[in-house]
C-alpha cells in the first residue's frame, strides 16, 4: 500500500487494506475538515496511527462499524453507525456494530456525557462513510471503464444503470483499498438521506431480549474473585480500625484487604462475600462534619442572606430597576440530593498482572479509569487496557472512576482477577449524588407588566457554579444580576443527567410562571415577549438561539392546543440545554379530587433527528425521568448518612405514575445537537405549572409529594 499523504498524519483521514482482505477505513476525528491520507496497514496494526473510528468492508459484504463511545442507553451504538452507513449507502441489514475498546491512539472523546457525542462526531462520521463510498465508486469506474458520473450506489451495491452492471461492496473492497483517497469528499444533500431520520431498532435488541451477557455485571472470568467493599457509613467519617477475623473465617472468603477508608472482602461468590462483610467489625472516627438535611436547610438560608457571592453575570443597573419597580416578585426553590440509581449498580473488573492491567466494565469515561489504574499500579497508561461493556444506565454516575479504582486496588493487593460489585445499598449510600441546591429569584415589573429587573442567587453544594448565567432569561432583561454561593460538603457529589439544569430549569421556568401571573399575562405570551426583546434589543450577549426558542414554544402551544382544552390544566416550560431546545406543556386533570399529570406534549429541536425510534424514546424517557424525580425523588441525610438505602425508601417512578408523552420534532435541517439530556430539564416545570393551575398552590420544592399541595390531598 502506498502512501499518498505522508505529512501531518494526526489530522488525516486514513485508509488501509485490512490484513484479512477487504477495505479498512479509519478516520481521524480530531478535525472535521481533515484531509484524507493513505496509511499502511502495519502501522495500523502497531497502533502507530491516530485513528478516531473505523469501518471494515469484508469480502462477504459485511460492513463492520466500530462505535467508540460508551453505550448507556442513549442509543449511540445504533446512531453512530447509522451516520456512517448513510453516507456509504450501505445495506443496513449487513452492517455489524461493534463497541470499540478504549484506544486513545485511534479515537478521541471516548466519553459519554453532556449529550455531546453526536454533535462532536457528525461531520466526521459522515466523511468516513462518504470517503469509503467514493473509493468503491472509483474502483468500479476503473473496472468497468466508465466515468464515475454514470455510477450510482444503493444498498451496498455499486451500479451502472445504463449497462445494467452491478457489483457488491464486498466484491470491490480489495480494489477500492488500493485507490488514493480524495482530499475533499462530497457529502450527501441532507434532503436525500434514506437511513438517517428512519426508525432503526437498537442494534443490541436480540441480545437484550434473550439475556446474553452484555453488561459489566455479566462479566465473569475463570478464577475471578468477587469483592464487596465496606465504605464508611457516613460522609465525614474515616477508618480507624478493622477486625476482620470473623469475616476471614466465613466460607468462601479468600482475603480481607484495606485501602484508604475502604475494607474489601474478597471471596468466591457474591453472596459469600456479602455475608462475610456483615460480620466485619470496623471503628470509624470523625474527619469532617457529619451533615444532616436539617443542617443543609439552615446553611442554604444563611448563605442566601449573607454568603460571599461570586457574580456570574451583570447587565444594566439592577438596584435602580428594583427601586423603580411597580411590583416585585420573590420566590425560593429548593431540591434535595439524588442518587443516580442506574439499574445496573456500580461494578468493575480488574486484573493487575505482572506486565500490565486489564480493566473491563461499565464506564462513561474509560480513559479516566485507565489513568487512575496506571497511577495506582505504576504502569504507564499504555499497559492498561479497558474493555467497555454495555451499561445498565449511567445518568452521569459512571463519569466517576471510583469503582474502577477500587477494583484496581483490590486486584493489586490480592494478586488475582477481581470483580468489585456494589449492592444497591452500596450504590445508593456510597455517593456520588446530584447535589442539593437552593435558588432565590427576584423579578421587578414596571406598570405595564414588563420585566425590567431580574435577580438570581444560587447556593450550591460542591457544584462550583449552580447557575447557568447565560441561559434565558439572560439577554431578555435589561437589568440583571446572577450570582452564586458555594458550600463545601463532605457528601460526595457529581454530575447527574443534565447537571445543574436538571433542577435549575424547573426552578426558573416555574418562577417565570409566577412572574407572568403577577404581570397578568399568559405564560406563553409572556415568554414570547421576552424572546422578542432578546432578539430586537438584547441586554448583553445572547448565547442561545432565540428563533429556535420561539419555534419550539410555538410548536408546543400549537400541538397542545394551548389554553383551549376544557377541564385540562396546562402548564408551560421551555429550556435550552446541551445545545438543544425543548418546550413542554404539562396537562393535569383532577380525578376524584386528585390532580393527575396526564400528558406532556414536547416540542423538540435537536437539529436533524438521526434515529427516529431512539430519539422518540430519549424524549419520552427524559420526561419520565424529569417528572419522576421531581414528583418522588428525595434523598435525605442524618449525621452524614443517607436515610434512603434502596428502592423501598427511595421512590422511582413506575408505569402507573407516568404521563403520556407526545413528542414533536422540529424539522429544520440543522446539524444534530444532542438529545441524551435536553428533554429532562423542562419536564419538572411543565408539571409544576400545570399542577399550580389545578390546585392554585405553587410547588417550590422537590419532591412534589412532600409539598403542601399534595400532602393535603393524599
Amino acid at each position: 500500500m502506498q502512501s499518498v499523504e505522508q505529512s501531518s498524519r494526526r489530522n488525516f483521514l486514513k485508509i488501509a487494506a485490512a490484513t484479512g482482505g477487504g477495505l479498512f477505513l479509519g478516520f481521524n476525528c480530531s478535525n472535521a475538515a481533515a484531509l484524507p491520507s493513505i496509511v499502511n496497514p502495519e502501522a495500523l496494526a502497531a497502533g502507530a496511527v491516530n485513528f478516531n473510528s473505523f469501518l471494515t468492508i469484508g469480502n462477504d459484504n459485511i460492513i463492520t462499524i466500530f462505535s467508540p463511545n460508551p453505550e448507556i442507553g442513549q442509543g449511540i451504538k445504533t446512531a453512530f453507525p447509522m451516520i456512517v452507513a448513510e453516507e456509504l449507502d450501505a445495506d443496513w441489514t449487513l452492517v455489524k456494530t461493534v463497541q470499540a475498546n478504549l484506544d486513545t491512539n485511534k479515537y478521541e472523546r471516548q466519553v459519554t456525557g453532556g449529550s455531546g457525542a453526536v454533535p462532536h462526531s457528525w461531520e466526521r462520521l459522515r466523511k468516513a462513510g462518504a470517503t469509503a463510498r467514493y473509493l468503491l465508486v472509483e474502483a468500479a469506474s476503473k473496472r468497468w471503464n466508465v466515468p464515475t458520473s454514470e455510477i450510482t450506489t444503493e444498498k451496498g451495491k455499486v451500479l451502472h444503470k445504463s449497462s445494467g452492471k452491478s457489483l457488491t461492496y464486498g466484491e470491490l473492497a480489495d480494489e477500492a483499498s488500493k485507490i488514493a483517497i480524495p482530499k475533499e469528499v462530497k457529502l450527501k444533500d441532507e434532503k436525500s438521506f434514506t437511513l438517517i431520520g428512519q426508525s432503526v431498532r437498537n442494534v443490541d435488541n436480540k441480545n437484550i431480549i434473550t439475556g446474553k451477557p452484555l453488561f459489566g455485571l455479566d462479566f465473569y472470568r475463570e478464577g475471578m474473585l468477587f469483592a464487596l467493599i465496606q465504605r464508611p457509613k457516613a460522609f465525614g467519617l474515616k477508618l480507624k480500625s478493622v477486625d476482620s477475623d470473623a469475616a476471614k473465617k466465613m466460607p468462601g472468603i479468600v482475603d480481607v484487604v484495606t485501602f484508604g477508608n475502604s475494607v474489601a472482602v474478597v471471596g468466591k461468590s457474591t453472596w459469600q462475600v456479602k455475608k462475610a462483610r456483615e460480620v466485619l467489625k470496623i471503628d470509624y472516627e470523625k474527619e469532617f462534619d457529619l451533615e444532616s438535611s436539617a443542617d443543609h436547610n439552615r446553611i442554604f438560608k444563611q448563605l442566601l442572606e449573607n454568603g460571599e457571592a461570586t457574580v456570574r453575570r451583570k447587565n444594566g443597573n439592577v438596584e435602580e430597576a428594583f427601586k423603580n419597580a411597580a411590583k416585585v416578585i420573590t420566590a425560593e426553590y429548593q431540591c434535595p440530593f439524588l442518587p443516580h440509581s442506574p439499574l445496573e449498580p456500580m461494578n468493575f473488573f480488574a486484573h493487575v498482572r505482572e506486565d500490565g492491567v486489564e480493566l473491563v466494565g461499565p464506564t462513561q469515561t474509560p480513559d479516566r479509569a485507565r489513568n487512575e489504574a496506571a497511577k495506582i499500579t505504576g504502569f504507564p497508561p499504555e499497559k492498561v487496557t479497558v474493555e467497555i461493556t454495555r451499561q445498565g444506565g449511567g445518568f452521569g454516575r459512571r463519569l466517576s472512576a471510583d469503582y474502577a479504582i477500587e477494583a484496581t486496588h483490590v486486584s493489586k493487593m490480592v494478586k488475582a482477577p477481581v470483580k468489585v460489585v456494589w449492592t444497591r445499598e452500596d450504590d445508593m449510600t456510597g455517593g456520588t449524588y446530584r447535589p442539593a441546591v437552593r435558588y432565590r429569584f427576584e423579578a421587578a415589573l414596571d406598570k405595564s407588566g414588563q420585566m425590567i429587573g431580574y435577580k438570581l442567587r444560587g447556593v450550591g453544594m460542591n457544584s462550583g457554579n449552580p447557575t447557568r448565567e447565560d441561559n434565558f432569561p439572560s439577554g431578555a432583561v435589561d437589568n440583571l444580576l446572577i450570582d452564586s454561593v458555594e458550600h463545601k460538603s463532605p457528601i460526595t457529589t457529581g454530575p447527574w443527567r443534565a447537571p445543574i439544569t436538571n433542577f435549575l430549569a424547573y426552578a426558573e421556568q416555574s418562577f417565570l410562571d409566577e412572574v407572568a401571573e403577577a404581570a397578568g399575562k399568559d405564560p406563553i405570551q409572556f415568554r414570547l415577549e421576552l424572546f422578542e426583546k432578546a432578539k430586537k434589543s438584547p441586554a448583553g450577549e445572547v448565547k442561545y438561539d432565540v428563533d429556535r426558542m420561539i419555534a419550539v414554544t410555538k410548536l408546543a402551544a400549537e400541538k397542545s392546543n394551548w389554553g383551549k382544552k376544557k377541564g385540562v390544566h396546562q402548564g408551560f416550560s421551555v429550556y435550552f440545554s446541551h445545545r438543544s431546545y425543548v418546550a413542554q406543556v404539562g396537562e393535569v386533570v383532577v380525578e376524584k379530587g386528585k390532580p393527575v399529570l396526564k400528558n406532556v406534549i414536547a416540542a423538540v429541536d435537536c437539529g436533524i433527528v438521526i434515529n427516529k425510534s431512539g430519539s422518540l424514546q430519549q424524549v419520552r424517557g427524559g420526561v419520565v425521568d424529569g417528572v419522576g424525580h421531581a414528583m418522588y425523588g428525595n434523598m435525605t441525610f442524618k449525621d452524614g448518612a443517607p436515610d434512603q438505602t434502596n428502592f423501598n425508601g427511595f421512590r422511582l417512578i413506575r408505569m402507573s405514575e407516568i404521563p403520556e408523552v407526545d413528542v414533536h420534532f422540529v424539522d429544520n435541517g440543522i446539524s444534530p445537537t444532542g438529545l441524551g439530556e435536553p428533554a429532562l430539564p423542562p419536564a419538572g416545570a411543565a408539571a409544576a405549572n400545570a399542577f399550580y393551575k389545578a390546585t392554585k398552590k405553587r410547588l417550590r420544592n422537590q419532591p412534589f409529594i412532600e409539598e403542601e399541595a399534595f400532602k393535603s390531598i393524599s
Partner: protein
C-alpha cells in the same frame, strides 16, 4: 454448603452452595445464567424475575433451599430461539434503552399473559408497575405487552 440439584430451562444443574443463597446469585455466579439481573436484592425492582413452576418470582428473594424440585425458567430458556411472542414484541416495539431491566420485564409479562391472554390496559399497568425501568421505557413496555397479547389470542 450442600450439593443441590436444580431443574432450570428443562436441564438439570448442580450447585454446591449454602442453602440461604438466593436463586439469583446461584444462577449468575454458579451456573453462568447471567440473563437474570440484579437490581435491588429486596424484591423491589423486578430485574431478577424468573418463572418458578410458571409463576413469576423475584429470584433475589428466593433462597435456593426453597426451590427444591420446582421447574425454573429464566430468560435464556423462555424460548429456544428468542422468538417467544413477548420477546418478538419487545424487538418490534424497540423497547430497550440500556436494556438492563428488560429481561425481568419480559419474564413478568410472559407469565402475566399466560394467565391473562386478553388483559385490559389497567391490568397491564397494574402488573407491570411492579418492575422498575430507570430509563423510563414504560410507554413501550406497555405497547409491547399489548402487542404480544393481541398476537397470542
Amino acid at each position: 454448603m450442600a450439593l443441590l440439584k436444580l431443574q432450570i430451562n428443562n436441564r438439570s444443574y448442580e450447585a454446591d452452595v449454602d442453602g440461604d443463597t438466593p436463586l439469583l446469585w446461584v444462577l449468575r455466579d454458579n451456573l453462568g445464567l447471567v440473563g437474570t439481573k440484579y437490581g435491588c436484592g429486596i424484591a423491589q425492582c423486578g430485574a431478577c424475575t424468573v418463572h418458578v413452576d410458571g409463576e413469576p418470582v423475584r429470584s433475589c428473594a428466593l433462597p435456593i433451599s426453597a426451590v427444591g424440585k420446582a421447574k425454573v425458567t429464566t430468560i435464556e430458556g423462555l424460548s429456544e430461539k428468542g422468538d417467544h411472542p413477548v420477546q418478538k414484541a419487545w424487538e418490534e416495539v424497540d423497547v430497550a434503552q440500556c436494556g438492563y431491566c428488560q429481561a425481568g420485564q419480559i419474564m413478568t409479562a410472559a407469565a402475566f399473559l399466560k394467565k391473562n391472554p386478553k388483559p385490559t390496559d389497567a391490568q397491564i399497568v397494574e402488573t407491570m408497575s411492579g418492575n422498575l425501568c430507570r430509563c423510563g421505557t414504560y410507554h413501550r413496555i406497555k405497547e409491547a405487552v399489548k402487542s404480544a397479547a393481541s398476537k397470542t389470542k
